[in-house]
Amino acid sequence: MKLRRFRVRSGGASALLIAGLLLSAAAAADSLDQAKRLHDRIAGVPPDPTTLANMADEIQLNNDPLAAALIATDAPAFYSVTLKNFAAPWTNRDRSVFVPLNDYIATVIGIVRDEVDFREILHGDILYVGSGGGVPPYSISNNDHYEALESQGADLRAALTRTTQSSLTGLPANATAGVMTTRAAAKAFFIDGTNRAMFRFTMLNHLCNDMEQVLDITRPPDRIRQDVSRSPGGDSRVFLNNCIGCHSGMDPLAQAFAYYDYEYDVMSDPDGEFGAINYNAVGEVDPDTGTRVESKYFNNALNFEHGFQTPDDSWDNYWRAGQNVLLGWDASLPGSGTGAKSMGEELAHSDAFAQCQVKKVFRNVCLRSPETDADRAQIDVMVSSLETTGYNLKQTFAESAVYCMGN
């Protein structure tokens, strides 16, 4: 055992003093350092002396640093600070962390807290709401509920309650798709545009691949919509070497969002602060298209009128062949379907999803990306652990912290 400096404590927990009597002095110092780092990295704040001692005990006495790390996940700051900022960049196009608490973030926090299968974030009928005096009820047309929770400094570990989107947002249960159908995600990614943003940012945030990384020009372009110019600026080489590589796979997947929009009054509310998600349920017809498909799917339809015209929300995953096989799709799923829910399940059941979550946690906890073969081996271990522990991301936080707690 290596010898380390030992500082005589002049205060702190009596429990540690007792432990110190039983252990070598050097070992106690190591466990304190490790315990503090575990707590810092997981909760973002230092532990109180009692918690520090308890964690050190787990490390030193019980040789169970994972248990120590899980103690840290009980800290309120793990939910209000670490997880809030972990998820915040996923909820806006600028990927800014400077955003208020919203239903997307709260749902991620709740899923981690309750150790729900993390894959539900892309296909579950799940939502977390808060409560408390002065907190307005959840609304589909503003974010006041969550901003009030945040401004009151609510303990999100305790304040959040699990519910369903279908009971609060008006979406049919089969039209819910985890965080993708939260108000915050709709406001960020269904607003204006063509709904491709929802797909792109979901890929970026939850499969850790932007479109450039999945570019494959060999996929058939038969589902690329009419708005994509096949000769941008008069040069079709641009399309044939670049645009086609992403759109050929993205458009047939993003077709799953064909019935969604974020509606707001552009005159009185140009930023859409008070808009709401819209979903054309069975029997609801878009006045412009005459079908359930939102008119945004026909924006600039004359850019290439020979292109694909979206008839419904059926989707196909063309990336189950070609180089993007390496994203590791779930062979037990069909690779096609209708609507965002099953498409979200397709994404969430990929190996890339699990790897992405683990890498994000690793980066968050270890304050760096994997740099060595050992780091990458640890990623693999944690991916396996995630898959075998019911996609409990809290466990991944703890495992990452243990790996990076020092020695």
Partner: protein
């Protein structure tokens, strides 16, 4: 021979089977409802004094064809009195009509003998045979429009030559073989003109000093499979184009040998024997499908940019005087007809431009119609797409681009000399896109200016009431792609430009949009060998999409023998082959999975296989590229395609030890706030703290890497620390909890801090630094620092509470809190 006929109406119109045997029918379709004659002022018109036209058709012939061609500087010098057929004889227009009927094809004017003869080089009065042929074709189309009630065109499908997909040679990506064989001849003998740096640059730039540029330009001029047919060889040997030795045959031989040498270095691309293929054919084997049907009754200037070379863009409207445009500056002819302007201009003479002044001011209304491809959506000025002007601030009209909007300028009695105020499309609508668009600007004294994009009115209203055009200036010049003074260049491709001296109606604009632009062909791919039916074809409408690709559109299945029926033919996994191999990109029909059935086929006479179109890359050029189709399943033939599983990428290399991230980091802004709250016991929701946090949180660290910490972040941290400590000290309950042994809050500094200071310092160490943690700052050192600080402050004018706040903030805002 079995043939099938179709009526084609518009570029996206459905094909409707009309006639089930060889022969022609007369169609109505969506062709122009021609009611008035084009305004023409041909030179030297003979005064006709013979018998009057016997029928309305003869009258139409006279107005549309005879009047235009009878002058001595057209066909009248020969085909009037002496040379048969005497289709412009002036003694009796009825006899001329009879003669003309032997050399025109009203149902397909482009196929008229008269047009073909001129296109082949027969006594064209312009420098371009094609331009003369197009002009005569437009005369015949106008006649046909009157006669047939429109020019909707009947398409007759005829079996093409049957050939198996051939092995062929394809240009390698690497130009080094070209550089070693053909390139030296080009750079030696063609360099005076065919480079972009020549005094008068002559496109294509196959002698460019840039090898890649030269290689790309030369590919279309080289036939690797038959070097003797290469354009380079033909141009020297048969057309005697600037031979360098004085002996064109010798120069042609040298060039041919160089191409033979190049070809010898390139291996043959063999067709995979496992493929289930159709027969092969090239674009020249296709059947022209261009619908005609454009409404051009009142066109007064028309540019189709078919020439493909040289510096003249011909006005083929047939309306004299021809307002031909001279190209200058940076421009390139593009495949599929058009001119791409980079920093160039096409301008007519002021004399010829007066045609616009004369014919537009006569009607007081006009339309500018163009098929354009803006190169980008960042140019402004406006960038001049089309202008009839005398300089940057004086014009009669202009169609321009400002970012995503089209701008229409017009001089009238209600606007200024520059045509302002302008009508612009709403920028939020982003009507202008950097892709092929049909744009029309119209003006009439009732509606004023209107802009149409892709057949639709943009709904942008003229900001001022319309007025007369009496302020127009007939000394201005007509220019495309630039202001006449070479300012405000427009970057983009012009593929067709028409000026009409009447307003096009909404229907006419939509009609012209639907007709499309460029030459289109039906390519009939024979699949009889696999389906067991003679003359069974998969037919595509194919066109050159731009200089780099083809458009394959709306495939359908047809059997030329109208008495045959398909039965039941499964077809799946159709791919487009090019020059001996399947194209790697753009295979939009590979997911096709249909069954051709009697039920589907019999109702329409064809079976549409897909309504989609796709673009595939151009390789050798439209005259050389050979296409074929492959199928994963066709009839009983199958070729199951199994894609290889990609190999996973190798793991990334380890980061060198000295470049690895430090094991410690810093807290981010939210963690700092939470940590300070935890350490002091002041809740984050405290109004004073929250207010300060709102001010400084964006100044504090966002990233947790310790290497990115900067001094400005420390300022934010310090401000927040001071606020937390201030609130802590000001709150008697909180401070009593934090400093339980310190009670001298109201004492002077000397009294409060004169003795043992452990009651002040120890809680700070306990709460902010921690005890016994090796990675934290040394407890003794921290205590000494705080002690020194208290001493310094106590000797000054600070009161006790302020000294407590400072002692607190110094530790709270330090690395003891920040580093994790």
């Amino acid at each position: 021979m079995n043939t099938r006929s179709f009526l084609r109406s518009g570029s996206r119109g459905l094909l409707a089977l009309l006639v089930l045997a060889t022969g022609y029918g007369c169609g109505g379709g969506s062709g122009a409802a021609t009611v008035s004659n084009p305004l023409t002022t041909p030179p030297e018109v003979s005064n006709y004094s013979g018998p009057p036209p016997a029928t309305a058709d003869v009258q139409s012939f006279k107005l549309n064809v005879w009047d235009n061609l009878v002058p001595n500087n057209r066909c009248g010098s020969c085909h009037n009195d002496s040379q048969t057929p005497r289709f412009v004889r002036s003694d009796d227009v009825n006899l001329a009509y009879e003669a003309a009927n032997t050399v025109v094809e009203l149902t397909d004017p482009a196929m008229s003998i008269m047009v073909g003869k001129v296109r082949g080089g027969h006594n064209c009065w312009l420098a371009s045979d094609d331009a003369c042929a197009d002009i005569i074709q437009s005369y015949i189309e106008n006649w046909a429009g009157d006669t047939l009630g429109g020019v909707a065109k009947e398409i007759q499908l005829i079996a093409p030559p049957q050939q198996m997909p051939g092995s062929s040679k394809n240009f390698p990506d690497d130009p080094s073989d070209f550089a070693a064989t053909v390139y030296p001849l080009l750079t030696s003998f063609c360099v005076d003109c065919h480079t972009d740096t020549a005094v008068v640059p002559q496109s294509p730039y196959f002698a460019s000093a840039d090898l890649d540029t030269a290689y790309d330009a030369a590919k279309a001029k080289i036939d690797l499979d038959a070097p003797e047919n290469s354009r380079f060889v033909v141009r020297l040997g048969e057309e005697f184009h600037n031979c360098w030795s004085g002996n064109c045959a010798s120069d042609a031989d040298d060039m041919e040998q160089a191409i033979v040498d190049l070809s010898g270095l390139i291996p043959v691309t063999e067709v995979d024997p496992d493929l289930v293929t159709s027969m092969a054919l090239g674009l020249p084997d296709g059947i022209v499908s261009s619908a005609g049907g454009r409404h051009e009754t009142n066109v007064i200037a028309l540019y189709e940019f078919k020439t493909g070379t040289g510096s003249q863009a011909y006005d083929t409207s047939g309306v004299e005087p021809a307002l031909n445009l001279t190209l200058s500056g940076g421009y390139d002819w593009v495949g599929g007809w058009g001119v791409a302007f980079t920093a160039g201009k096409a301008q007519g003479s002021t004399t010829a431009s007066t045609k616009l002044y004369d014919l537009i001011t006569a009607t007081g209304e006009f339309s500018i119609e163009a098929w354009v491809v803006p190169a980008n959506v960042t140019q402004d000025g406006p960038a001049r797409i089309v202008s009839y002007s005398g300089g940057s601030m004086a014009r009669n009209f202009m169609l321009g681009q400002t970012l995503y909007q089209y701008d229409a300028y017009l001089r009238s009695d209600a606007t200024d000399q520059n045509g302002e105020p302008a009508l612009s499309t709403n920028p939020d609508d982003e009507d202008l896109q950097a892709t092929l668009q049909h744009v029309v600007m119209t003006y009439d004294p009732v509606e004023g200016r209107r802009i149409y994009v892709n057949g639709q009115f943009t709904e942008d209203l003229d900001p001022i009431p319309p007025d007369l055009l009496s302020e127009w200036d007939n000394t201005f010049a007509f220019a495309v792609g630039s202001e006449v003074d070479n300012q405000n260049r427009w970057a983009g491709t012009m593929r067709l430009l028409a000026v009409h001296n009447r307003v096009l109606t909404d229907e006419q604009i939509l009609q012209n949009f639907e007709v499309g632009v460029g030459e289109k062909y039906y390519l009939l791919f024979n699949v009889s060998a696999h389906v067991g039916i003679d003359d069974a074809y998969v037919v595509f409408e194919v066109s050159q999409f731009d200089s780099y690709s083809y458009l394959f559109d709306e495939p359908f299945f047809v059997i030329l023998d109208s008495s045959a029926s398909p039965g039941s033919i499964p077809m799946a996994g159709m791919r487009i082959g090019l020059n001996g191999r399947e194209v790697a990109v753009g295979q939009a029909f590979r997911n096709l999975d249909v069954t051709i059935t009697d039920a589907e086929y019999d109702t329409s006479g064809i079976q549409v296989l897909s309504t989609l179109g796709t673009v595939v890359p151009l390789e050798k050029g439209p005259d050389e590229d050979e296409f074929f189709l492959t199928f994963e399943r066709l009839g009983s033939a199958t070729n199951v395609v199994v894609e290889a599983t990609p190999a996973p990428p190798p793991p990334p290399a380890e980061v060198p030890i000295d470049e690895r991230t430090a094991p410690h980091g810093i807290r981010d802004f939210a963690e700092i706030n939470a940590t300070m709250s935890t350490m002091t016991g002041v809740p984050t929701s405290n109004s004073q703290v929250a207010s300060t946090y709102d001010l400084v949180y964006q100044a504090m660290p966002v990233q947790t890497g310790i290497g990115g910490f900067i001094s400005s972040q420390q300022m934010g941290i310090t401000q927040l620390a001071i606020k937390y400590c201030s609130v802590l000290v000001d709150d008697t309950g909180l401070r009593a909890s934090f400093w339980p042994s310190f009670t001298d809050w109201n004492a002077s500094p000397g009294a409060a801090f004169g003795g043992d200071r452990s009651a002040v310092i120890d809680p700070i160490i306990d709460n902010f630094v921690g005890r016994g943690i090796a990675t934290q700052p040394g407890e003794g050192a921290v205590a000494t620092e705080i002690d020194d600080l208290i001493s310094r402050l106590a000797s000054g004018s600070s009161n006790t509470e302020d000294i407590m706040k400072a002692s607190c903030a110094a530790a709270l805002g330090s690395a003891a809190m920040l580093v994790q």
